[in-house]
């Protein structure tokens, strides 16, 4: 069982906030899902290699050559706040 404090810690890692009103329900749902995972412990996985990719293929590397795929102006149009070619965020340094 995982307690509310742990769920809050996980939320903080994920950059999410859970309100006081929602924490009890969120914790219950969290534990309900973890209970579903208990079945995994019944599988004997001794000496079984993890399967990261279903084709077991290694990452392919392309030639190290710079390619411009998308126009910068098009990308910047989706920025919530920008100035010239820069994304604006709240001041980090005083």
């Amino acid at each position: 069982m995982t307690d509310a404090a742990t769920v809050r810690d996980v939320a903080a890692l994920a950059r999410l906030t859970i309100s006081d009103q929602d924490i009890e329900n969120a914790t219950a749902e969290f534990n309900q899902t973890l209970a579903l995972f208990d079945a995994l412990s019944t599988a004997d996985t001794t000496d079984v290699a993890p399967m990261i990719n279903p084709l077991d293929s290694a990452q392919r590397l392309r030639t190290d050559r710079i390619e411009t795929l998308v126009d910068r102006a098009g990308l910047m149009q989706n920025a919530p706040a920008s100035e010239e070619d820069y994304f604006l965020v709240p001041r980090v340094l005083d």
Binding site: T2, V7, V10, A11, L13, A14, R15, L16, T17, A26, E29, F30, Q32, T33, L34, A35, L36, F37, D38, A39, L40, S41, T42, A43, T45, V48, A49, P50, M51, I52, N53, P54, L55, S57, Q59, R60, R62, L69, V70, D71, A73, G74, L75, Q77, N78, A79, P80, A81, F87, V89, P90, R91, V92
Partner: protein
């Protein structure tokens, strides 16, 4: 469309013969969508100017001698595919205003083949759901019964095809998101082998399982579309560098002697009796066509649900970390500092199911839980994949139900979160193992469609399409359509 339930193959003949123009098809499709969609909510962005321009271009090309089975045929895209200049929201508040400056490879390939995009389909938010109820834009209704879900996550795509808004819509399938809604809406949906279709420009959910595929009325149409969609893409490092066969070429082959494995675990207590009887009758139809039915076992079927719901949310938690309110997507009002910007943008921008999965994924990837959950699930994934591979050495394909039940009612409060996750029990295995699988309509139970799933060997799409086509030659379940004439919008 003047003929709303026509197949691509039929429309191509009519276009070639000059009985109809691409522009007329598009205008009819838009008119039908505007009439029916206010009730169905299957389409969340109509691109009328873009569609008419593309249709006129297709008509001009045909007038100068160009011909292709897809030229001038309308389509819709699941709103998970980036479309240049057209909203791509993934049905999330987070991306509600996102307009991509480029096309996904799937979109580009289908445009290049001459298909005409009408717009974008509703879906579960970030493809996380089996009912299309998690969309920021509201639930989609099943055209067969407006009180029921269309399935998910490609629920808008399935409902749009079933309602005759388009002959084909693209979908994506991470744990059954093409096959289950195809089954619930009485259409044909193919999830190709992982790597067969490029993921470039397809918004990522769980990158080791996400795969795009066609959703249409028939296997014959799915073959036509897969011919255009499939192939290696240097922009997707996981796309398979293999040649693409002509998927239409082998459709007429006999299935005499084909070995079809029936896993006993697919006919377990999870399965609704009516669905079991309907799928069993469809298997008998395959037998009547010459297939040899073989009892097989996939003992880890139930474990697949636990495995999938560790791996998919873990991959999602990493993929969705990019949505931070800085470069694109939703940003909260008046953030006090950078942390506040991150926290409130993500908390306000994501819906409840997405946040639930990010939380679980973050937890299972944390140092204290990694071995117990994430590593263990990756090991069980290999056991499951090996079970499928072992069975597929003895049989050509595996057959069973696409979903445990027919479409369930909207807002069914009796289903817990984990009950909803169990909806995917029969479809998840193909994603974990990276195998191709198709769902075909095989009957009705209480007026609602039932789908049969066929799972094949890696890159065995041609065989699945062949079997599905042979089934559809012998049956007419794929020709049934819902009665929507009472809907006026």
């Amino acid at each position: 469309m003047a003929v709303p339930f026509e197949t691509i193959s039929s429309l191509a003949k009519q276009l070639d013969a000059g009985y109809v123009s691409a522009r007329e098809l598009v205008e009819d499709a838009i008119a039908r969508t505007e009439r029916l969609n206010p009730e169905l909510n299957a389409v969340i962005a109509l691109d009328k100017p873009g569609a008419i321009a593309a249709a006129e271009k297709a008509d001009k090309a045909r007038a100068t001698g160009a011909t292709s089975p897809l030229l001038g045929v309308p389509m819709l895209h699941k709103d998970i595919f980036c479309t240049h200049g057209v909203q791509t929201s993934c049905a999330s508040r987070m991306l509600a205003d996102f307009v991509p400056p480029y096309d996904a490879t799937v979109v580009k390939k289908l445009n290049d083949a001459g298909m005409v995009s009408l717009g974008k389909c509703n879906m579960d938010e970030f493809a996380m759901g089996s009912s299309n109820e998690t969309s920021f834009f509201g639930a989609v209704k099943n055209p067969w019964d407006l009180n029921r879900v269309p399935g998910g996550s490609s629920g808008g795509s399935a409902a749009a095809v079933a309602a005759g808004l388009t002959p084909m819509a693209t979908g994506t399938d991470t744990g059954g998101s093409i096959r289950q809604p195809a089954a619930f809406c009485g259409i044909t949906g193919l999830k190709p082998t992982y790597g067969r279709v490029s993921r470039y420009g397809m918004i990522a959910f769980a990158s080791s399982m996400d795969q795009a595929g066609p959703m249409a009325r028939t296997a014959e149409d799915c073959a036509l579309v897969l011919n255009a969609m499939a192939g290696h893409d240097p922009l997707d490092s996981t796309s398979a560098d293999m040649s693409v066969p002509d998927y239409s070429a082998g459709l007429e082959q006999s299935i005499e002697g084909l070995r079809v494995g029936i896993p006993k675990e697919f006919f377990s207590s999870h399965l609704n009796d009516g669905v079991a009887a309907t799928v069993s009758a469809a298997i008998k139809e395959l037998e009547a066509a010459g297939a040899v039915i073989v009892d097989v076992s996939l003992p880890s079927t139930d474990l697949g649900v636990s495995t999938y719901y560790v791996i998919a949310p873990a991959e999602a938690s990493a993929n969705l970390s990019r949505y931070d309110g800085v470069r694109y997507g939703y940003r909260c009002d008046s953030p006090s500092d950078l942390q506040d910007l991150y926290l409130r943008s993500r908390t306000e921008g994501f819906g409840e199911e997405v946040k639930r999965r990010i939380l679980i994924g973050t937890f299972t990837l944390s140092a204290a839980s990694y071995d117990q959950y994430f590593m263990k699930a990756q090991q069980v994934r290999r056991l499951i994949a090996e079970e499928y591979q072992s069975v597929l050495k003895d049989v050509d394909v595996i057959a069973g139900p696409s979903a445990p039940s027919t479409a369930f009612v909207l807002n069914d409060g009796s289903k817990s979160i984990t009950d909803m996750y169990m909806e995917d029990v029969f479809t998840i295995g193909a994603n974990l193992a990276g195998l191709p699988a198709i769902s075909v309509p095989v009957g009705l139970v209480d007026g609602l469609p039932v789908g049969m799933q066929l799972i094949g060997s890696r890159f065995g799409e041609a065989q699945l399409l062949n079997i599905a086509h042979q089934f559809q030659i012998r049956t007419d379940w794929h020709s049934l359509t819902p009665d929507l004439e009472g809907l006026t919008g």
